[in-house]
Amino acid sequence: MKTLEETKQDVIGEFSMYDEWLDKYEYLIDLGKNLDSYPEELKTEDRLIKGCQSRVWLDYALQDGKLFFRADSDAIITKGIISLLISIYSGRTPAEIAADDFSFIEEIGLKENLSPTRANGLVSMISTIRQAAQDNL
């Protein structure tokens, strides 16, 4: 498995291939469509991420000292964003995640290119992932 840093560089590289934000959205939509299916019974109130206008559910499990995330959203671009986060942070140790500064979000210009409500949603997704790491340190 690639390191956290390597995976982040891959994502940044992937994003920089597209000049136009519409193309970046297209990429996120693809990621969203290809995200592993999420069990209906896990779409519960306590797994719902607050601060998103569209609904986002995030579930995680600790296995062999590593955190594995799965998620779903009723909006596809949001689902693409959460898929991106999962591809980077799933399978990492809580310590690795807790120590990360999530600055790659700024490097790919994602936050600035979301509507304010979505940007809040993104911040909430990140803090939920961080909290999961903190809780399992």
């Binding site: 939509i29 609904r55 009723d74 909006a75 509507s115 979505r118």
Partner: protein, 408 residues
């Protein structure tokens, strides 16, 4: 006048977003400002800035004059009987809250009933809910039919001996269909019940004569009628406003203040406590002038009707697209279209359209009860102003098709 020419008066419309020409279709949320409005706004700050009514110096009197002249213009615009029936507020929300509080204090008792419709904006629901909590009163809800029409007959069934006020929008900010407000008012008045009309969307599209309509209260916002943000109007019949206690206490609204007891200023100052939005209120004059000139221009009216017909045809022709507020007659519909798309989330559509330069609204449009009633989590809304062209409407449809193709 042609929409294309009118655009020159709105500097912001020449803007590019993400390198693409801005197509602004969120006018129902806030309308853009013409130069005539911006100039008055500037002038108030550069030439007439002082607090109004009290001071005796020259600046204060020119500010007071500009402010009070606006009251006369609004009175004339609404054809109100008395100038003191025009109260300046910060917007529709403030106007409705004022009535819900002050009318409530004077006239609502435990067990009394109030009626709103299911299609109301949150600002015409929540102030009444707060009133009901305070007074242990009951809020009843008038439903709409599948096309989005309010039926005046069903109102008759909802009214009881205990109904004290009915609050209804002239045009819903989601459905864009003109409500039969005159009939509703007549039904209510037969039983002696006053009616508050939420004119936030309606005032933009309909000529309103408050004496002819005979509404008891009318609320609207300046920012939706091309005036400065933070301006608004409450029209109220004098007989009610005189009976209602003040909403806020402070400067301006008093007669004499003594610790043994304070008396209040006469209307309209009784309801205008504290320093008012002096620099912005006078922008209502050029805004109303502009709106009236457009309304009387047959070429402009024709262009707007053409856009409404075009979008009704296009949005109802796509099997995936569900339009809410499909009019029985085209003339019932304003240039405001809310829709959902099968298999595509409203936010995704809005986000993609934004990157194409098209500003639309998505979400619950401050009308969550209506969203629940219609069984959706949200919608996309496009709303047109007289400066929007048919070409923009066509571009929107093209881009919508592209967005749907990307998402589905």
């Amino acid at each position: 006048m042609k929409a294309g020419e009118v655009r020159k008066e709105f500097p912001i419309l020449g803007k590019k977003v993400y390198g693409k020409p801005l197509v602004y279709l969120d006018n129902a949320a806030t309308a853009q400002k013409p130069l005539s409005v911006i100039r008055v706004w500037d002038e108030m700050n550069m030439d007439k800035n002082a607090n109004i009514h009290r001071a005796v110096h020259a600046l204060a009197s020119s500010a007071t004059e500009a402010y009070e002249k606006t009251r006369d213009r609004v009175r004339d615009f609404l054809h109100a009987r008395y100038r003191e029936e025009i109260i300046f507020t910060s917007g529709t929300t403030a106007s409705i809250n004022l009535v819900a509080y002050s009318f409530g204090e004077a006239f609502i008792k435990e067990g009394d009933e109030l009626i709103v419709s299911v299609e109301e904006h949150h600002s015409n629901i929540v102030p009444w809910q707060l009133l009901c909590q305070r007074k242990k009163a009951v809020l009843k809800v008038l439903e709409i039919d599948e096309k989005g029409y309010i039926s005046p007959e069903s109102l008759g069934k909802l009214i009881s001996q205990r109904t004290k006020i009915v609050a209804i929008s002239l045009i819903s900010n989601v459905l864009g269909i003109k409500n039969p407000v005159k009939e509703i008012i007549d039904i209510c008045h037969e039983k002696g019940i006053p009616v508050l009309v939420d004119g936030a969307q309606g005032v933009v599209h309909e000529k309103i004569d408050v004496q002819e309509l005979d509404c008891d209260f009318l609320a609207f916002s300046g920012h939706k009628i091309y005036a400065a943000t933070g301006t608004g109007v409450l029209y109220g019949k004098k007989k009610w406003l005189e009976e209602m206690p003040p909403y806020m206490g402070g400067g301006e609204m008093i007669g004499h203040v003594r610790f043994s007891g304070t008396t209040f200023a006469p209307l309209p100052q009784k309801f205008e406590a504290g320093t008012q939005n002096i620099s912005s209120v006078p922008t209502l004059i050029p805004a109303i002038d502009w709106m009236e000139s457009v309304r009387e221009d047959s070429e402009m009216i024709g262009q707007q009707q053409e856009i409404v017909r075009y979008l009704l045809d296009e949005l109802t022709a796509r099997p995936r697209v569900h339009l809410y507020g499909v009019p029985r007659r085209t003339q019932d519909k304003i240039g405001l279209f809310s829709f959902s798309v099968d298999g595509a989330h409203h936010e995704d559509i809005a986000l993609i359209l934004d990157k194409m330069g098209i500003a639309v609204r998505s979400g619950q449009m401050c009308a969550e009860p209506l969203m629940d009633y219609l069984g959706v989590t949200g919608m996309v809304r496009v709303s047109f102003a007289p400066y929007n062209t048919l070409e923009e409407a066509k571009l929107f449809i093209q881009c919508l098709d592209k967005a749907i193709a990307m998402l589905v």
